[in-house]
């Protein structure tokens, strides 16, 4: 039974249920702290980074 109201934001609560390094957590973190930019653009940057990483693996794994 809580002694006081839990004032955590929904997003903070959500992040608690996601693994730190998961793509979901990385996208949400970027969305919440877009580093001065637009949240969706910040998430796209995370996705592009991941895409480049996978491309590099597919290319490098066979070269």
């Amino acid at each position: 039974m809580p002694d006081e109201v839990n004032d955590e934001s929904n997003v903070d609560r959500l992040l608690k249920h996601l693994k730190d390094e998961s793509l979901a957590a990385r996208l949400i973190t970027a969305h919440e702290a877009p580093d001065g930019g637009e949240p969706v653009a910040a998430m796209k940057a995370v996705l592009t980074e991941r895409l480049d990483e996978v491309k590099g693996k597919l290319d490098g794994a066979t070269d």
Binding site: P2, N6, S9, V11, A24, M43, K44, K55
Partner: protein, 838 residues
């Protein structure tokens, strides 16, 4: 700090008439007693109207909305009298504001009411209350006012509709929007519209290529292996055509193209569409025209006879006998004896010298004309070259080879209209432009040749105009070719598709195309595979977010269940039947269930869980409704609550817990609590329990219906103040005696003011008022009252002793002892009875 309501004035609203009645709320707890039908619920609704501009009772009783017509305006006041509720509110920053709600239009039949909200005298928008720190909840119960009809609301609505009450709890709209944003990222991962990949997918359907191409798409080998596998595929295609594949990769591709052309040609002469790129053509440079102009200028300088003899003279001077002449000799031209003298040869040399520039200009002019001729001819040739083959042959020849529009339509079948008509539309302008340009070039070439043959007819300006015209014709032709290109290529592709299908070579052309860009193909396949992989990760991420979102809701419900349980336990501690949880129904998140635990044991062990609606008594449901309201208020950070008869009469245990524990807990949150009750015992009990906090008390009564409900702020009367001070005086704790001192100071000040006003009025000063002495302290008041204490010489001394004790109690760290405080209470009470008897 949360906002606080410091007073509420009600004028012409519901049971309240004119003038305005004011409830003073200086303390964080207030209790108001009113028997039935004396204005208690109207007072609660006045709070609601002030904050929301309406009363929820009408909205909750949908079937009787018509009956609320003209319900807000007191029935007995004049039609033009203003109906308003005014409040002094201390905002979150500690600043006081006058908040006023004026009724503009009352409820009508099927018509909502309207009102005007003012803060500090200025009309404001509804959301201006937020700036004072007042956060309203969701409709229909927006204001923090609990009344009998709102208490039962949550149980009377369907489980599906209970979500409204818990909207802030259920509200994960921000997470929904976040999820949508993330789901929208899938568009970023769609493979680009790459023709290489489309052709690859066509090739993978070719039986002899399926395994190899499928394998490289899955394994994405290094470039060398990738190329080798494509070469294997080329070999497989050639073998499937019954030929031995060459060793060389390029030769294999050429062989495939040859086989394709042969097979297509057997069905239709598709190669008739072949054409070359239009060769580049630049109009003649300016120096061409300059040379022709120079020639004309030089020609002007030399007479006709000299021009005609110049060549003869030139040739004559090449004869050694003429060139080396020292004495007269016979003329080699006419044979006249000794007629050619050194003087005459010198004259011939002079003539030759005079025509040298002319001859140079003539040579340059001929070269320029030759350039013009070449330019015109090359343009004519390029016009022909860029035409498709079928346009360079006769219609008879086309029919002979089978190249007819009818045949093309047959081959394409239903798709003919789609491909043939655009092609034909572009073909006619092309043919016209080609003919015009070709004829222009031929004509220009002929004119140049004619002028070259007879320089006397040379017309540089005419030629310049002709070639400028050629440039325009060529531009038109190039435009027509551009317009023709796409429809023709689309038609050829469609035809090849049909021809390849008939020749069992479907997809071969696509294979040749992808095989000629192996690096591009491999890059595109890696890109597609990476996108598919990350898209899968994104899908997984969305599923994780969905699961996490459900857990967030579960967490929030668990937290909220905890809050409700907290208030339930304070109301009904240790009962074997208890509130267990509020939870969303599985599979229907917007459907809310309340669960009760039924334990056969005093320690609540082994409880059976049931729906509260089915098992709770009316009293228990009443308690749960109150617990829900208090939990919601606490959760939403409401600064104040108004409770209209929160305790069922006759539910004695519950009443004790509410008065003693719940109110105490609410004040500690801290939350301002205003309790309205019809139970006089509750009023007295609450007043006694929270006297040490300076509780505000009031009573409601009605003397005449026309006058309406009257509010008497009983805690402001002299006797009430003395009574409170007395009850605190005997408290052992120094804080109690200090609080007693504060009440005694208020009582003393009020006694003095009443004495002074009474005296002035006795002397005929009818306008004398308490407000004349606002801000006056005992130090100022007592010396002025002493002369009025005439019944006994000891009385001024009693007042002086009283003042001294009160000063010590209010200002010293250690207040006077119990005996001194009791004595002070007795002295002021004595003086009140002697001089101001009630």
């Amino acid at each position: 700090m949360a906002p606080r309501i410091r007073s509420l004035s009600v004028q012409g609203f519901r049971s309240y008439g004119l003038p305005a009645q004011t409830l003073n709320l200086p303390s964080d707890i207030a209790v108001v007693w009113g028997p039935n039908s004396k204005g208690k619920t109207s007072l609660a609704e006045a709070f609601e109207f002030l904050l929301t501009g309406r009363i929820s009772r009408r909205e909750l009783m949908a079937s009787t909305q018509d009956e609320f017509a003209d319900a807000l305006r007191n029935a007995h006041i004049a039609p033009d009298a203003e109906v308003a509720v005014t409040s002094r509110i201390t905002d979150a920053d500690g600043n006081d504001h006058d908040v006023r709600r004026v009724l503009v239009n009352d409820y009508g039949k099927r018509q909502d009411c309207s009102s005007r909200l003012e803060i500090d005298g200025a009309e404001v928008a509804e959301d201006a209350l937020e700036q004072l720190g007042i956060a309203l909840s969701q409709p229909p119960l927006r204001a923090p006012v609990l009344a009998q009809h709102t208490l039962s609301y949550i149980f009377s609505v369907r489980p599906q509709d209970r979500s409204t009450y818990f909207k802030t709890l259920l509200d994960v709209l921000d997470l929904d929007e976040l999820r949508n944003d993330i789901a929208g990222l899938a568009d970023e991962l769609k493979p680009p519209d790459d023709p290489l990949l489309a052709k690859f997918d066509t090739c993978i359907a070719i039986a002899v290529l399926k395994d190899t191409l499928g394998n490289i798409a899955r394994t994405l080998p290094d470039l060398e292996t990738f190329t080798a596998r494509i070469a294997d595929c080329a070999g497989a295609l050639i073998e499937s055509a019954g030929e031995e594949p060459p060793d060389n990769f390029d030769e294999r591709l050429q062989a495939i193209e040859r086989i394709l052309a042969e097979r297509r040609g057997k069905t239709f002469p598709v190669n008739e569409f072949d054409r070359q790129q239009l060769a580049g053509w630049t109009p003649p440079a300016e120096d061409v025209w300059a040379r022709l102009g120079t020639y004309l200028a030089e020609r002007e300088k030399v007479d006709e006879e000299t021009r005609q003899l110049a060549a003869l003279f030139d040739e004559a001077l090449k004869i050694p006998a003429v060139a080396e002449i020292e004495a007269p000799v016979d003329c080699p031209l006419c044979g006249t004896d000794l007629s050619l003298t050194p003087d005459r040869v010198a004259r011939i040399r002079q003539h030759v010298e005079d025509t040298r520039d002319f001859k140079t200009a003539e040579t340059a002019a001929r070269a320029a004309l030759s350039q013009l001729s070449t330019s015109a001819n090359s343009l004519a040739a390029s016009v022909q070259g860029a035409l498709p083959a079928y346009l360079k042959t006769t219609s008879a020849r086309r029919r002979e080879t089978g190249f007819t529009v009818t045949r093309i339509r047959e081959l394409l079948g239903d798709r003919a209209v789609e491909f043939v008509d655009p092609w034909l539309s572009s073909l006619r302008p092309l043919a016209r432009a080609a003919a015009a340009c070709w004829r222009g070039a031929q004509s220009a070439s002929a004119v140049v040749d004619q002028q070259s043959a007879d320089l006397g007819t040379l017309d540089p300006e005419g030629l310049k105009g002709a070639f400028a015209g050629l440039a325009g014709l060529r531009d038109q032709y190039a435009g027509a070719l551009d317009a023709y290109g796409e429809p023709a290529e689309t038609l050829v592709a469609a035809l090849n598709e049909v021809l390849d299908a008939q020749a069992d070579t479907a997809g071969w052309q696509d294979f040749v195309d992808i095989a000629r860009d192996i690096v591009g193909l491999r890059t595109a396949l890696i890109d597609r595979a990476a996108r598919a992989s990350v898209a899968k990760e994104l899908d997984t991420a969305l599923k994780e977010i969905d699961r996490a979102k459900e857990k967030v809701l579960d967490d929030k419900f668990a937290d909220h269940s905890g809050l409700i349980q907290k208030w339930w336990e304070k109301l009904r501690p240790e009962e074997p039947t208890f509130f267990s949880a509020v939870q969303p129904r599985k599979g229907a998140r917007r459907t809310i269930d309340f669960k009760a635990g039924l334990s056969p044991n005093p320690d609540r062990s082994a409880p059976k869980v049931r729906d509260v609606i089915a098992v709770f008594s009316q009293s228990q449901l009443h308690c749960l409704g109150l617990a829900l309201f208090l939990a919601r208020s606490e959760h939403e950070g409401t600064g104040f609550i108004i409770l209209d008869d929160p305790v069922l009469s006759g539910d004695e245990d519950y009443k004790v817990h509410f008065n003693a524990t719940v109110l105490d807990e609410l004040i500690k949150l801290p939350m301002q609590v205003i309790v309205l009750t019809q139970d006089h015992a509750t009023w007295e009990d609450v007043e006694t329990r929270y006297r040490h906090l300076g509780i505000s008390t009031a009573q409601l009564f009605i003397e005449t219906p026309a006058e309406g409900s009257i509010i008497e702020n009983t805690s402001d009367t002299l006797l009430a103040k003395i009574s409170r001070a007395k009850s605190l005086a005997r408290g052992g704790h120094p804080d109690s005696r200090k609080e007693c001192g504060i009440h005694l100071r208020d009582a003393g000040e009020l006694f003095c003011k009443e004495m002074l006003v009474k005296d002035r009025r006795a002397k005929g000063e009818e306008a004398a008022s308490f407000s004349d002495y606002d801000d006056k302290t005992l130090e100022w008041l007592c010396p002025r009252v002493d002369p009025l204490l005439v019944q006994d010489a000891s009385h001024p001394g009693k007042l002086g002793a009283f003042r001294s004790t009160v000063n010590h109690a209010c200002h010293d760290n250690e207040p006077p002892g119990t005996a001194a405080m009791v004595q002070a209470c007795g002295e002021i009470h004595f003086l009140q009875k002697e001089y101001l008897p009630r």
